[in-house]
Amino acid sequence: MPSLLFNNPGYPLLSMLLCLPLAGAALAPFVRHQKSLRLFGLVVTVATLCSSIPLYTEFDRAFAGFQFAEHYSWLSVLGIDYVVGVDGISAVLVLLTTLLMPLCMLCSWREVQERLAEFIVVLLLMEAALIGVFISLNIVLFYVFWEGMLIPMYLLIAIWGGPRRDYASVKFFVYTFAGSIFLLFALIALYVATGTCNYPDLLSYRFNPRMQWLVFVCCAIACAVKTPLYPLHTWLPAAHVEAPTAGSVILAGVLLKMGGYGFLRFCIGLAPHAAQSAAPLMTAVALVAILIGGCLALGQDDLKRLIAYSSIAHMGFVVLGMFMVSVRGTQAGVLQMVNHGISTSALFICVGMLYERTHSRLLADNCALGSSMPRFVTLFTLAACSSFGFPGTNGFIGEFLVIIAAFEKNIVLGACAVCGVLVAAAYMLRAVQKIIWADRPGNHQHGAAIHKVLSDINIREVFVLAVLAGGIVLIGFRPSVVLDMTSASVTMLVQRLSG
């Protein structure tokens, strides 16, 4: 279906985005000194970020199909072509990826000292794989990137991780790989049924109900592990706790979004009728994720675990929005993916900064920092406010639109979603309160004594957090920067659902 594909700038922008980090990864081992290695990684990721800017400026917001498209024949016999392109949904996720990667480089500046060259290579490979996932329009190519991303993430946790890194990395790998098997099964079934692997061609087929259910169930399992939805979430807290800061940022910021993206592309896009019928079940699952994720976060003493469980709740909001079967709900789901990417990354970076100073992630060891680290606590509070949906931050408008969509569907559903926001406020404010003040005077003096020597965050760290804080406030007051981009594609997707 050529009408779905369109290349606006006339040069292969997406291939460039894919190749830049790959080339960087190939060259990184030849860079000698530690300092130049770090600079090299930063330059490559910033270059990728700069080259992704046309994706925002040149993007045709009225066009619902795939833009910046490139189509080269490859293994035509097997239906495997090199087809890349983005619609509004994938474009914002690519931009989120290219924005977060330089920040990952910056936040690992002091943290990672060993095997630096390998670290840079792994991060750059990761960036390429993530961009690949979002731009691939051929399901085989997509699957290659989807699985390929596992390896750098596994290495990140297994080499640069914490004390229980072996357990966490294997658990991560087993869970996501097991989920992906189902995806592979669905993709093969799609190929067998249609004889093509190109996603735009697949969109033109109307599958029979059995086929739709097969695709839906298989893809939903794979995406539910990635997102992750309760009860398939247990790999996430373990992986977050052990991963280095950059790993956590990528994991929360982009990797989880692959789950949400998969839901939209495959479950809703290719199996609309099955998705329509399964929507009540998926909403229930999402609500369980919101409430249980929130309640689990309430009881955490480890900051990274707390944020990991809050991620589960937030991604529950994403899935809830997507399965409201309305333009508003799906739009809100996509917006919430971006919001979560920004605010949770900021929170993980904050925890990383604390860990560098106090060598502990426990709330009890990181309390009463307000007087010694004022710059830090200000930015941390902003990120936390975004996380619990304070008005004026990006988290508010995303969650609010999801809640409106839920109320439009069913009052009880809306009421349950509101409870999720309430719980979020409870665990986030508890963390903020303890980090700034501590809640017992004895604790406060103890904290003050320990933290007297702590230095506030430096310019590099302020810059990293300020970029994300800018995103939080910008989207908080002008969500149209995201919503305008996704609107046409989401409308088309929802029309498929109801049509």
Binding site: S371, F390, F407, I411, V418, A425, Q433, F477
Partner: protein, 496 residues
């Protein structure tokens, strides 16, 4: 009266000036005298910026300015009408007094973290003024939440066990209710109306389409009533007495004027400009609200009677008076709404004086309990005289401000032929007289010569003057408001 909407960027000033003041205070934190004077200057400029808008608004014009649009029907939009201006002018006028008072109080008691105190204090004021100027429900909610979060550091200012416990209560009540009820109410209203804009043209029609389900409208209303927990309607009131652990300037300006009035003002706004009197009357929600808040009016006054801590007694008095305001508006008649809304200003003038006096007593003598206050009237005559005048306003004795609003409230109850509501208003006045009278009598007529080891007054110290003068000025404001009620009435007339 014909209402015209005029686009006016000048509306940004009342919100932007306090924010700029806060930023400047933070920037100049190393230079203490300069830092302390910035809020005074900032408050004067803010007051000026509000007063320059007064003539336009008095003509019946509504000033509007849209800052940005988030989503169709959800925008950051400032609009100022008579009702908003009344609240904005009250808050900014009293801020001038409070900023002078702060210097005296913080210096006398040598409070720690003064920069943090000033910055949060000023941002809370910006939030309050923003709520006064809010042109739609989203802006109102935004400002409401900003006020909640920036007043938390002020409540836990002393950072001891009591402060942290009260702070937790404060957040649980205010944040919990706004997330639980208010957020749901906003989403429900957006679902029913497709917008969060208010109908500022009149107070009769509201924004709900005729087709909206009546049951859901009632649910949305009740969610709003409980969601704005800053109005301290029982049973969501106990955060307010807990918040009295804060330094007295906080109790005075924030927990008697800005914070609580943001709650009451929001409820009034929602009743008049979102639901409209027609709909509330049709659904009998006005009567329901009046009956419900009457319980708070009487109940809180009774509790105030048995409190011997002066600030706690004032806090319960505030709870009772806030519900009186809501009671007036929920009678839905001309007189009731006028009386209720003007009581926002009258209560503010009086209650801030009462707190200023309580703070001056604490700073001057360290006494917090009423039973220890025997003879204090002789040591702090001006302070306690101001206290007496403000008490008269609370009780509703002419010619002080409270009398005018109570007069309107009583006549509204008569309009409704409701002996019960009239009884509530009169009994609450009687209870006011009982608990304020006790303080006054103890201060001036008890104790006699036992306290003769303290000779003379303690009001002459320069820092004490910073506290005594604002108390006297605000008490005189109460008298002025009672003798010249026309200014406030003219503002409210534009709305009715």
């Amino acid at each position: 009266m014909a209402v015209s909407l005029v686009h006016s960027p000048a509306l940004l000033l009342p919100v932007a000036l306090p924010l700029a003041t806060a930023a400047l205070t933070l920037a100049l934190r190393r230079n203490e005298p300069l830092r302390d004077s910035i809020p005074v200057i900032g408050s004067l400029l803010t007051l000026l910026s509000v007063l320059t808008l007064l003539p336009t608004v008095q003509d019946g014009t509504i000033l509007c300015f849209t800052v940005c649009t988030l989503y169709p029907g959800i925008a950051v939009r400032l609009c100022l009408d008579g009702m908003g201006l009344l609240f904005a002018a009250t808050a900014s006028l009293l801020w001038v007094a409070a900023s002078v008072y702060c210097i005296g109080y913080l210096k006398t008691l040598q409070e720690h973290a003064q920069t943090r105190f000033y910055v949060c204090y000023t941002i809370a004021l910006a939030g309050g003024l923003g709520a006064a100027c809010a042109g739609n429900l989203f802006t109102l909610y935004l400002c409401y939440e900003v006020v909640t979060i920036v007043t938390y550091p002020l409540v836990i200012h002393h950072q001891d066990t009591a402060a942290y416990q009260s702070g937790r209560k404060y957040l649980v009540y205010l944040m919990g209710s706004s997330k639980m009820f208010l957020l749901a109410a906003l989403a429900l209203m957006y679902r029913l109306c497709g917008t969060l804009d208010m109908n500022l043209h009149d107070i009769v029609h509201g924004i709900f389409p005729a087709t909206a389900q009546r049951g859901l409208v009632s649910v949305a209303y009740l969610l709003c009533l409980f969601g704005f927990a800053k109005a301290a309607i029982m049973p969501l009131h106990s955060w307010l007495p807990a918040a009295m652990v804060a330094p007295t300037p906080v109790s005075a300006l924030l927990h008697a004027v800005v914070v609580v009035k943001v709650g009451v003002f929001s409820i009034c706004r929602v009743m008049l400009n979102v639901f409209g009197t027609d709909l509330l009357m049709y659904l009998n929600l006005g009567t329901l609200t009046a009956g419900f808040v009457s319980l708070t009016v009487i109940g809180a006054s009774l509790i105030a009677l048995i409190k011997t801590d002066l600030k706690a007694r004032l806090a319960y008095s505030t709870i009772s008076q806030l519900s009186t305001i809501v009671l007036g508006v929920s009678m839905l008649g001309h007189a009731g709404i006028t009386g209720g809304l003007m009581h926002i200003a009258h209560h503010a003038f009086a209650k801030i004086s009462l707190f200023f006096c309580a703070g001056a007593v604490i700073a001057g003598t360290g006494i917090t309990d009423i039973t220890h206050m025997a003879g204090i009237g002789r040591r702090m005559p001006i302070t306690m005289a101001a206290f007496g005048i403000a008490s008269l306003s609370m009780i509703g004795i002419p010619p002080v401000g409270g009398f005018v609003s109570k007069w309107y409230l009583a006549s509204a109850a008569l309009d409704l032929h409701s002996i019960l509501l009239l009884g509530v208003i009169l009994v609450s006045s009687l209870l006011n007289a009982a608990y304020f009278g006790e303080v006054f009598i103890t201060a001036f007529f008890k104790g006699g010569t036992e306290s003769s080891e303290h000779k003379g007054t303690c009001e002459h110290a320069p820092l004490m003057r910073c506290m005594v003068v604002p108390s006297a000025v605000t008490a005189l404001l109460s008298v002025a408001a009672g003798m010249y009620p026309d200014l406030i009435l003219s503002l409210l007339r534009t709305r009715l």
